[in-house]
Symmetry: D2
Subunit: 394 residues, 4 copies
């Protein structure tokens, strides 16, 4: 069978951006995509310079995402999917533009800047018939898949306790007052939404807990803080969780915890076993069957299951990392798009790929956490969420 790469475009991700480059590498690792168009910056000179550096033809470097959507739609060799890597507040309008052209959308998280937008986007996705993927990339790590498999197949028994955390330290001081571009937009409610740390990394922790456990969070009791003087969004998140399957949990995320780089870590405990996985050592999953010695399961090693092995490229002991985990999402996205092009219904190809529903869940979580924290940590249901005003620093 001859090789057929999927033609993609990108919105956002010009020079100096972090996550755009990550997506591009992730699409290249398994050679399933070809980047042929872009609106890489709202500044058209910068957009073009970035495009040329990336091997995009000049005529397919756009300064406007809406023009890009239209023009690409008209081309015979137009893009099959767009990757959206703008700041959060632009996710919705960009996704809308491409969905309306029937172009598949791959969107960074959090899905939108607030819940209303997310719900509207969901309606747009459904109407469009196009495929939508949300890049909660941590679900792509092979041993995260295996963790899910262990839960799904009952190895842990009924889940009781879920402890998840995501700690960083890069916002320990007032980085937004320096020339740190990332810090600037991520702490600006206009661009990132009302949630700071909560939206940036708390949603990853939330998503991971739901993904592995197969349970939904019903209620949260939360205490948000903006520790850094003058900060306009939260930089530390304390939340207790109640899951719909009976499990209880805690979620901690912080960007003011010195010594933590990307400390995403999850532990799940059931009636029969416990598991533990940390993103900074992603090639190891610890499994403790109650009453037996703890086992160290390694990626592609003994005890790693079929799904984990499907997403492994190299033998155990040769570490795969963040980019390969990210690329695994793209492996599944490529297969989904090929299936659709081969006639499959868009509703049948989602598999483990995070969907618009996961995006909506994330926004419900953010909304409920903001609400609970504003109400002195009262338990707040994810289904009752209502929008709130921005918090102020203490």
């Amino acid at each position: 069978m001859a090789h057929k790469r999927i033609r993609i475009g990108m919105v956002g991700g010009g020079d100096g951006a972090f996550i755009g480059a990550v997506h591009r590498i992730a699409t290249r690792i398994d050679d399933g995509f070809e980047l042929v168009a872009g609106a890489l910056s709202s500044d058209s000179d910068r957009a073009l310079a970035s495009a040329l550096r990336l091997g995009i033809d000049q005529e397919r470097s756009y300064s406007s995402f809406s023009v890009m959507a239209e023009k690409e739609k008209q081309r015979k060799d137009g893009i099959q999917a767009v990757i959206i890597v703008t700041p959060n507040h632009m996710h919705y309008p960009v996704a809308k533009a491409f969905l309306e052209q029937g172009i598949h959308v791959i969107c960074d998280k959090p899905v939108t800047k607030d819940l209303n937008e997310a719900l509207e986007l969901k309606a747009l996705v459904e109407k469009s018939g196009a495929f939508f993927a949300l890049t909660h990339n941590y679900t792509g790590y092979p041993l995260v898949r295996h963790a899910k498999h262990l839960v799904d197949t009952g190895v842990l028994g009924k889940l009781r306790v879920i402890q998840v955390e995501y700690a960083q330290d890069w916002l320990t001081d007032q980085a937004e007052n320096t020339d740190n571009k990332q810090a600037k937009w991520r702490t600006d409610p206009e661009k990132s939404g009302l949630a700071g740390c909560l939206g940036d990394i708390g949603t990853h922790a939330f998503n991971l807990a739901c993904f592995i456990s197969g349970q939904k969070v019903q209620q949260v009791s939360a205490d948000l803080t903006a520790f850094v003087n003058g900060r306009r969004v939260d930089d530390n998140v304390h939340t207790m969780l109640r899951f719909d399957g009976g499990a209880k949990g805690m979620l901690w995320s912080s960007q003011v915890a010195p010594g933590n780089e990307n400390g995403l870590k999850i532990r799940l405990y059931g009636e029969k076993a416990g598991i533990e996985w940390a993103q900074e050592s992603p090639n190891e999953l610890w499994l403790s069957l109650f009453g037996e010695p703890t086992q160290k399961i390694t990626r592609a090693g003994h005890g790693a299951g079929e799904e984990a092995n499907r997403l492994s490229r190299i033998p155990a002991g040769h570490p795969e990392g963040y980019l390969e985990g990210f690329a695994n999402l793209y492996v599944d996205i490529a297969a989904a798009i090929h299936s659709i092009e081969a006639g499959a219904d868009v509703s049948s190809v989602q598999g483990f790929i995070p969907s618009i529903d996961d995006g909506v869940d994330g926004m419900k979580f953010i909304t409920a956490v903001l609400a609970s924290s504003a109400n002195n940590s009262t338990w707040h249901s994810l289904e009752d969420s209502t929008l709130l005003k921005p918090m102020t620093s203490n």
Copy 2:
């Protein structure tokens, strides 16, 4: 200077007990005590058999702690201090009996079965003029002392976030329905008090957080669960914390987390640095000055301070453990008692030794957590605590 061992007696701690043996080893390690009397069991035959095995003279093996208190008081060579290692509900009456004789008391935690008793005990201690120590033994680890030192001397800057946890797995199934004596009394509200996991190990985590941070917990928002069918006390504790110095925290303790043995772990983050310490690797303290590589400080190694070194017996790399940490409390207790005997006022010798006030704080914590959890996790102040009814399993 000739060697002078302190004469001690013990109540509780007969054959089959766990913590009594630990105390005895801890008193022997540095040779500061001599066990000469005991009421080791309420069963007088068992008490005597245990006593003889421990080298206690037959005439000083008592079947009644109150008789022991009286008789020992009358002897010229009577005990100078008593160690109380009974189940929790007996702490109060035993302590009372010895305090009324002016005999120093060393009491296991939690200090009493409820807050009222703790407050009464505090009054008794103050009235007695005797010395009272509560064996929150984890504060005796050298690197815990060094952690406190780092906080106290401002290395961390103003504290923001405190994450503490203590997880075990031994109550994952219905151990109380087997012949496991420890499981039986520790899950019996009549003997352990209304708090299960909360009182047994949650108080250790609480105490450690307060000890190192130098801050008091003002409020808690808690969610307790008894996961195991039929269990009469909590076996999982989720709590958010607000400290009086402005720090916020989370405390998790659990006895149903497979793979966890004695997973007591604490992390503290301030404006300038973060530290991390885990009881299962007690000879290492991780210090992250913001903007610098994380340092591994080892017990008796480079960077361990004076106080940690004072409590170290052997060079770095030769691990000291739980028993040595416990013994460090006894090192300080011995010094305190010698000081008192040399004329020092009892109010001047407490130093880092956990006191009746720590015991009261622990009971306030337990009471507030029970109250908050019963009120759907409403924030509850430790100063407003009121007693509650036992919880039932879900």
Copy 3:
């Protein structure tokens, strides 16, 4: 500046091969290369099928590497470099064919099947004027570069002790008698050369020690064993080392050590400091300045130097792995080839890229180790090496 990918071809690496796929991913990660030709298998049907799957045009899928070398040379858009990923015994003839056409060569290790071939290849490289790179990929890890930097800048002081090891377990039993294709050729002296474990992974350990230390091994005292019954090459290597800068070392490599996946680990100790790095946790480098706490330096984190940062794609705490380390070699190779095309002399572009000299050194090491082991571990100089007969299992 517009993007210009280097056109490459590949010899070997068809379906079922391990290392060919690794090279292809490594060339794609940073988008510096385009695979346009191949002789992927000696079986022409398999070669073609593999080529098509990889997006190579049918007309540039060759069944003969020599035909490929000639034809590609004649094309205007012919390959600029060839990647050789065949079994070891084919490295020499393939490299020769392309070098004679003046095509740059990127060759997997060990460079040839014996020292004589390596010396002949060195002559060919020099005569050709083409660029030659040997993919000792572990030198591409950012923190390996930083380790070298610490040594080079005197942070460790004069080196005294170097401990290096590379342990695996996949040949613990008679895997060569199963259908394990990798095991078959790697234990077949006709295909892998006289060295088994020694050539397969021992050379990596050797190369890494020399790379970081900047010292050459002068002498070895070795004890090789083939533990598995019937095995035709060594599966365990014990070697003591004497370096030309005065350091002494030990090298252990094994393929019969259950529990080891790719346990490549190096420790270097000098008069002023020690460092430690392990391939399975490549994002951490441990630095112990004598008399200070050990520091954990992380990739892209605080304390990682310029060279390490140059080769990092993503922030600290998001692990990069084996493929990214491998890709770093290709980053440097791409820059070298671009420089040559821009007129630089081939002798000026090698930088940290392993060269034919490293290949020759590796073969001298293999030869000397075989000689020493055959002579009851007598110290053997790498400059006196002579070829030896295959060993037999014990």
Copy 4:
């Protein structure tokens, strides 16, 4: 059964000594011994001051070990055993004096200053009918016992490879030229014997490898170095090993490896499994059955065997350390002496307690290593060892 402590005396171990204090704590932990006599220093004032501080009666503080041996023999309540914790060169004369009085001897390692003395001591022990124990304390760690058990019961299959190391850093600079008393005598061939690092810690590594494997070292090929300028004994040991059961190994010990405190670590690999244990994390033993995930066996945890549990005092997760491991030797020594007093033959009570034969083996090892190193690393049999002259630094 009433408690009966064994009466012991000590030679050496006065103020400022390290290992004497360790032995005393080890004897106290399980309350099996009572220190009643001592010749703690050759300076009689210091001896007396130390003795009083330790609670020894003035009349049983001796300034001469030979007087002590005689006097204690004459007492009805004389010591039953003596602990020898002098510098190495005094082990032989002290042991001789007590053995000649029929008093049991507990002697620190290495057993004597050279092999001849060791062989003479062996003759003396046999003639005396007294019990002799050599405190290779690392064999007392519970999980070392379990490691031995796994080997003995065939879990590893036939052993192939044994890698053992013991690295420290405290002699990285010229500590012997400071007021470091330990450094002075341990680098003085008159007091420590011809072996420096080799005798001080290399023998521990050697002993541990033999203890766990149940194999004897037949031959060594060694390369000793004194890296520090002016040092009179080796400070780094590189040795290859051949065992009598067919295993091959490497032993590295060093006292000039910055960042290493007491890095004693052993790995054993057999046809069916591998194990790994490190002294600095003594409560964990890693077991890798070939083809299965690695298991973490914890002291007193699931999978720790009977022998390990017999020597555990407290539950899994509460770390026991160096002192408890040391005390385990004394647990067995106490039982042995009680058995002898109850009529058992001295030849029947040794069990796992290191014996004079282990001491002789250690001296043969030292002698063979010195010989091999002096002969350019020629393999040297432990049975052919002959004495050598001191080495000089390079």
